[in-house]
Each structure stands twice: as C-alpha cells, then as structure tokens.
C-alpha cells in the first residue's frame, strides 16, 4: 500500500553533475576530507586472496560506488570497512585501512565500536522478527543511547523516508511490510544509532524499480549528513547517485583462482564518459558484463 507520489518514470542514465564546481582537471583528485584511506588492501578467506590491490580514499559527505562484474570482491571489500569480515573464520585483511587516519585493524581497535560508527545495509532486507518500533529501537537500546526512545524512533523513520507510511502501525510486525519498505526500515534502523558512514551492499538488487527509486532519492538526501559507500552491479544506479566510482575486475591467476582488483577510481562522471582504462570502458559501455 505504498503511496506513489510521483508518476512512474522510466529512469535512464542521466548526466551526472559533479557535486562541487570548479574541478581541476587532474586525473585523480583527492577529496578534501577523506573518511577512509585504503592502501594496497588485500582480503583472503583462505590461502588465496579474494580481492587485492585496493588503494583509494573515500570522501566525506559523498557517495562512493563500487562497481564491477560479480565475483570481483566488491562485497568482500565493503565488509572490510566495518570489520564484518571478522565474523568469517579464516578471513584475513592485509594492507592498511585507515578510518579518520586511524588504523581500523589496529590491535587496540574494538570491532564493536567500529560498527557503532559505520553502519551497513544488506542486499536482502533483514528486519528483525519484531515490531517496526522495536526494530528501530534495538540499536539505541543495546548501545545505551539516552533520550526518549519514541523521539529517536520517530526521527530515524523520518530520516529514512518511512515515517508517514508506518506512523500508525509502529507496533505491528516488520515482516508485514513490503520489500521496499523493509529495506527503508533497515536504513532507518541504521540511522537510529547515528552513524558516521553508511555502507550499502547492493541495497536495491532485491527490490522493484519504484522502491529502488525511493531509496536512491533517500541516498541523495542522506549524503548531506552521512558518507555513503555503495556496492552495486547496476551501472546506471552508480551513474545516477554517486560522486566517485571504483571499478573492480576479476583476474584469473595461473591456478585458475579468481581474485578481484581495483582497476580505476575516479569521479563518476569521468569513469562513465571518459574512462582511463580499456577494461573500465569495456564494462561501462556494456561490451562485457
């Protein structure tokens, strides 16, 4: 029962307007403030690496997209940024991941604290089997946030563009919502703990085009306050919403082992209109999938 407030549009890739004017024409412009600094990062689940050679910065209040064919390690990499890979036994991260200058994998760093600041939205919406209210309130409760829970929940749902649709049924089970609503609930849940960064791992791939559109609009609003990194296999989506794009590719080594690698990282407009590497060009023009 979603209200469609605008007529359905068929979304076509439109020209991306760079968020800040006056771009110096240097091929790789470092953003003024970097949230993440990745230096030659490599992630392995076993003896062989799943993704390697990742070196770029993620900027504040920007949307950074990670694109590339499946199996190239985009999800693996994004899960490094909030140390979710810690949950997988045998996962190893080499290289440096700096968060506001601090080594994210330093020995004194507590992964739980990391995740309080860096939130994540998953590919398949995963609301808890609780009410809408309790879904949002879960994070603030376990983190011991002070203040009126009702206010916190309302603010998170408003930020997540969900408040109007659910304000009368906060106590109903979250499983009763549609897929698109559930994903916005997961985003709102993430926002409720007031994070610094939001990571999104293919957030719209399980959703219909209308819900996708709503979430993309939401992302554009959210980037004013938060920094967003999104993994997407939908090129047009990356072109629509992101400021910067990293293009990954898959490599086959001598023993037929697949690993991913970053080929190019630049302003989104440049990646899509004038990519530097032929592999990037082949991908964004659709010559390879």
């Amino acid at each position: 029962m979603e209200r469609v407030t605008e007529p359905q549009e068929i979304r076509t890739p439109r020209e991306v307007v760079p968020p800040t004017p006056d771009v110096a024409a240097a091929p790789e412009r470092k953003p003024r403030e970097a949230i993440f600094g990745l230096e030659d990062v490599q992630v392995s689940y076993g003896p062989k690496p799943a993704v390697r050679g990742v070196s770029f910065d993620i900027g504040k209040n920007e949307i950074t997209a990670l694109i590339g064919p499946s199996g190239c390690g985009k999800s693996t990499l994004i899960r490094c940024l909030n140390r979710m890979n810690d949950l997988i036994p045998g996962a190893r991260v080499e290289g440096k991941v700096r968060y506001h200058g601090q080594d994210l994998y330093g020995s004194e760093v507590d992964a739980v604290e990391v995740r309080k600041r860096i939130g994540m939205v998953f590919q398949k919406p995963n609301p808890f089997p609780k009410s809408i209210y309790d879904n949002i309130a879960f994070g603030p409760r376990v983190l011991g946030m002070k203040g009126s829970m009702d206010e916190i929940v309302e603010r998170a749902l408003k930020q997540g563009a969900l408040w109007d649709e659910v304000k009368d049924r906060l106590k109903t089970n979250a499983f009763g919502m549609s897929g698109g609503q559930q994903q916005r609930l997961c985003i709102a849940r993430c926002l409720a703990v007031n994070p610094d960064v939001i990571l999104m791992d293919e957030p719209c791939s399980a959703l219909d085009p209308i819900s996708t559109g709503k979430i993309e609009d939401l992302m554009m609003e959210l980037k004013q306050e938060y920094s967003i990194v999104i993994v997407t296999h939908n090129m047009q989506q990356a072109a629509r919403v992101s400021n910067k794009t990293a293009f990954f590719t898959v490599e086959l080594d001598d023993e037929e082992h697949r690993s991913g690698r970053v080929v190019e990282f630049d302003d989104t407009e440049k990646i899509f209109t004038n990519p530097g590497d032929p592999r990037t060009e082949a991908y964004v023009t659709g010559k390879v999938g």
Partner: protein, 313 residues
C-alpha cells in the same frame, strides 16, 4: 542537525578502543563452556564410576571366570560369577525383538517413504511417535499381564511360563520398532528422486523400485537404524525385568524365564545395597559390560549414519 540527546554512535571519530575490555563477554563465554563441560563430565563420571568398581570386582573374581563362566548366582554364599547367562538372556530377548522389529519396522518405513500419500504420512507418523513415547514400564505391564496370559497362552496355546523371554522379546520388538522405522525412513527419503525416476523410466514397478533401487541405496542408513534398535533393546531394563522374570538362565528356550544384564542391575540395585559389598560391585561390573556393548553398537551406528549422510547431503 546534531542530535543533542544521543551520546553513543557519535559521528565524529574518537578512539575506537572499547571502553572496558569487554570482560563481560569473556565471562559469559566461560560460563557457557562450563555448561558444555557438564556433558563431558557425565561421560567421565560414568566411565570412572564403572571402572573403579569393576577393577575392584576383578580383584575378587577372575576376569576369565566372569566372562566365560556359565553360572550366575552372585548373591549366594559362595556365589558363582559367570556372566554368560545374563548375556544369553540379553541377546535371546534382543534377537526375538529384532525378528519382530526389523521386518515390521522396515516394512513400515518402506510404506511411509515410497507408498504413502502425504496425508496418510501425516496421520501415521504421530501414531508411531505415540508408540515411541509409551514408557517401558507400561510395555512391561502389558507383556506380563496381557500378552503372556491372553495372547501366548490362551490365543496361541503356547506352553510358556508366566515369566518368559518370548513375551518380553516380542513386546520389546514393538518398543524399538518406531526407532528402526523412523531412522530407516529418513535414510530412504534421502535417496534422490532421480534414482527412482531412472528406474521407473525403464519400466520398473513400485515394488521393484522400492526393493531393488531405494533399499540398497539407503542400505547404510537402514543398517544404522537396525543397529540403533538393537542397542536400545540391549540396554532396556523394565520390559525384561517385569515379563521375563529374575532367573539367570543359560538355555535358549524362550518359553522359560531369563534375565538380561540390565534387568539384573534393576533387580539387584535397590538403594540399600551396602557400598563395597560384592553385591554392589557386581552391579558395576555388569553395568560396565552393558555400557561397553551399547557403546560399540552406538559407534557402529554413527559410522553408518555418517556414511549415508555423506553420500547424499
């Protein structure tokens, strides 16, 4: 739009170290490990309890006499400590039980797995579960007060004593039947449909598919089911204790009373056996033998279950 009311999850990036080193999490993990160790302690306790008294027992009674002797009168003065009659009794009753439970159980399993429609399965399975849930003392009562007099003696006109191994064995068979049926049925259901379809496609009948394709394919699971059933029968006390009497008997005549290993323990241990007496020690020695036999059977059964799971899952 700073949120003045929140203190955690702040958007700046102060230190990422934990406020306290999360000792609460470590404490909880330690408590959970302690709980898990209780099961290890249980096994250790069983082994120690049995071993200690058994070793003590063998200081008075020779191992060879125990294992091979044919007369079991431990409570007499002087006693005989040959455990063979108890073993004979155990396996006589178990053997009869198997004669009942194996064909009936496997037949039921084949029917449920290959023939029964889903609705029939849904009604039958709870009934089998009901049979599995009947306490063994009720089976014992039934065997002694109904089955022997009314079925064996009156209906079938068999010359059996009031306490006899036949009644105990047959009723025991029905007791282990649900175990055999459910494990065997699991194994048969795990056989991929493609195997059946291949056979049907060649023109085989359901009988042929069930017996020549599914049954052999599920064989390791079926063996596991039977071994599990036997293990339960060997360890079962009350049916034998009530229906087969309390006389250690070397003969293989099922119409006579017999005593099994477990039934002996049940008959002798009564709460007031003095610690350290020879009586006390026989309980443990017999218990040790029982434990070892069922342990070996159980390990064999697990092996077979693993084999059939590996093949198809």
């Amino acid at each position: 739009m700073e949120a003045a009311t929140t203190t955690a999850g702040t958007r700046a990036a102060p230190t990422l170290g934990a406020a306290r080193r999360r000792w609460g999490e470590s404490l909880i993990k330690a408590l959970l490990i302690l709980a898990a160790l209780i099961s290890v302690l249980t096994t250790t306790g069983i082994v120690i309890a049995l071993l200690r008294e058994t070793i003590d027992f063998f200081s008075e009674v020779g191992v060879w006499e125990f294992l091979s002797g044919g007369k079991w009168t431990p409570l007499f003065e002087p006693g005989s400590f040959g455990v063979r009659p108890l073993v004979v009794g155990t396996f006589l009753v178990t053997g009869i039980a198997l004669l009942v439970a194996a064909p009936l159980g496997l037949g039921a399993a084949i029917y449920l797995s290959e023939y029964a429609k889903p609705r029939v399965r849904k009604t039958i399975k709870p009934i089998l579960e009901l049979l599995a849930g009947v306490p063994t003392i009720v089976f014992g009562y039934f065997a002694l007060t109904f089955f022997t007099p009314n079925v064996l003696q009156d209906l079938l006109h068999l010359k059996v004593d009031l306490f006899n191994a036949l009644a105990a064995g047959i009723i025991m068979g029905f007791m282990i039947l649900p175990t055999i049926a459910s494990v065997a049925e699991d194994a048969m259901s795990a056989v991929p449909q493609s195997l059946r379809e291949g056979a049907y496609g060649l023109g085989a009948s359901k009988l042929q598919v069930s017996v020549r394709v599914v049954f052999p394919a599920a064989l390791s699971g079926i063996v596991a089911a039977v071994v599990l059933g036997v293990s339960r029968a060997v360890g079962e006390t009350m049916i034998v204790l009530l229906a087969a009497g309390a006389v250690a008997n070397n003969s293989l005549n099922p119409s006579e009373p017999h005593q099994s290993l477990a039934a002996f323990i049940g008959a002798t241990a009564g709460g007031d056996t003095p610690t350290g007496s020879i009586e006390y020690k026989t309980i443990f020695a017999v218990g040790m033998l029982l434990f070892v036999i069922t342990l070996i059977m159980n390990l064999i059964s697990i092996r077979f279950v693993r084999k059939y799971r590996q093949v198809y899952e």
